[in-house]
């Protein structure tokens, strides 16, 4: 089994479809472009004020052309620059088709916790609350358990929330879950895992999709 981060990013890349406007968070989501089919035609949005960024430039990066994580980018045809209020207006008003965020915990009703671990480092929230609230579809990526084996898919988040009832899909190296008002449903079992493995590593109760049973 490879690096779980790569397994997750590769599976998540299949969620990105041509015609979408997409925002990828820092961490595992930022690996997604490496796994995209080159024919996938999307506009990537970055909070600092750019719609339509492209790959890292090979040389002479420009201080004034970077993504929200502070790394240099290029632009694609049709790109636009705008100020931060337009950037977040786009987010809150549902013009982002898909946001993919790294996560610390997700609850069975889709609550997301991904910005603070009290008593440890408090980097701050950045744009996560608004992406969680405003994107048309929010997918959370994370390793299935903490390093100590503690499940991260939980009945109720114990970490402070980023936003309530916002996550529509969870992708880990073990499983893909969907979340709807009824709760959590296991949609896919990742290669090398079993439903039993997933049950043992998931604190929240979940249904199993008809297509998996069939």
């Amino acid at each position: 089994m490879g690096d779980p981060r790569h397994i997750i990013a590769k599976r998540a890349a299949r969620e990105v479809r041509s015609g979408m406007i997409v925002n990828l968070g820092i961490g595992i989501p930022s690996l997604i472009p490496d796994f995209l089919d080159p024919s996938t035609n999307v506009f990537f949005h970055t909070e600092n004020g750019l719609l339509g960024f492209g790959p890292t430039p090979s040389e002479n990066p420009d201080w004034a052309l970077s993504n929200a994580a502070g790394y240099p980018v290029s632009i694609v045809k049709g790109a636009s620059y705008f100020d931060s209020t337009v950037s977040f207006g786009m987010i809150r008003n549902g013009r982002i088709d898909l946001a993919v965020l790294g996560s610390l915990q997700v609850s069975r009703c889709g609550d997301l916790a991904n910005w603070i671990v009290p008593g440890k480092r408090v980097p701050g929230v950045g744009g996560a609350m608004e992406l969680a609230f405003g994107a048309k579809r929010l997918i959370a990526l994370m390793q299935h358990c903490e390093k100590n084996g503690k499940p991260k898919i939980v009945s109720t988040c114990t970490l402070p929330l980023t936003a309530t009832a916002c996550v529509k899909r969870i992708i880990t190296e073990m499983a893909v879950f969907d979340i709807d008002p009824g709760g959590l449903t296991l949609m896919e079992v990742m290669p090398g895992c079993t439903v039993s493995d997933i049950r043992n590593n998931t604190e929240a109760a979940f249904e199993i999709s008809e297509q998996l049973k069939g």
Partner: protein, 232 residues
């Protein structure tokens, strides 16, 4: 989907208008109101329309051409003085008019456009226009609450667009068009010049294509100045 090509034509957008819709229209005294899309609106035959925009245009210019047909049931605007027919319809009870201070009206549209839930202001306090507005008291001071204004459809006029719908405007014809493009659920832009993606300078784009659904090449403006219409 997949191509991001949003260029279409008047015929294709005409079915998007519907009875009872709320329509946001760009323009200031008719300048920057998309003339071809107003004609589409008229030709579509829809009625019971709720209009939101800066003013009622002139009877022969801008949204005024539609207002005089009595197929709008309400209008939120900052003034209607340039369209005496609108005033008459208001007096006769055939058009419900809500006046808003011009900048407050624009901010209410923008508030919807950027996904917020309205704002507080002291503009209008102690006046007729402040009556019946919710009052919010903070630290002992009273503010009026102004609600966001969205719409089912938004029609705007732009000088240039690329096929993705990135918009560039024309001098004072910009006015409220950028806000309306952001605020409407579905925005249709009537455009003087349509170019390929990559042909616009990314710095000059005023409204990113993410806010625009359809791009229609204009059939032309056919503008009349105030003094050319008087006595018509």
């Amino acid at each position: 989907m997949g191509s991001f090509n949003k260029v279409t034509d008047y015929q294709a957008v005409k079915p998007l208008f519907f009875d009872g819709m709320t329509l946001l229209f760009g323009g200031f005294g008719g300048v920057g109101t998309p003339p071809g899309l107003v004609d589409c609106l008229i030709e579509s035959g829809v009625k019971d329309v709720h209009l939101i925009g800066n003013d009622a245009g002139f009877p022969w210019i801008g949204i005024g051409k539609f207002v005089v047909l009595k197929r709008a049931v309400s209008l939120v605007a900052s003034h209607i003085g340039s369209n005496p027919v609108a005033g008459q319809l208001m007096t006769d009870g055939e058009l419900q008019v809500e006046f808003a201070p011009q900048g407050i009206l624009n901010e209410r549209i923008r508030s919807a456009g950027v996904g917020l839930n309205g704002f507080l202001t002291e503009i209008g306090k102690g006046t007729l226009l402040g009556e019946n507005k919710p009052i919010v008291t903070l630290k002992g001071r009273e503010y009026l609450y102004e609600s966001p204004l969205s719409g089912d459809l938004g029609i705007v006029y732009a000088k240039k667009a690329d096929t993705f719908g990135n918009l560039v405007f024309d001098k004072t014809a910009r006015n409220n068009n950028p806000l309306i493009a952001m605020a409407a659920k579905t925005t249709i832009a009537e455009v003087e010049e349509i170019v390929e993606m990559g042909a616009l300078d990314p710095e000059e784009i005023i409204v990113p294509g993410a806010f625009v659904k359809h791009v229609v090449p204009t059939k032309g403006i056919n503008w009349k100045w105030i003094w050319e219409t008087q006595g018509t």
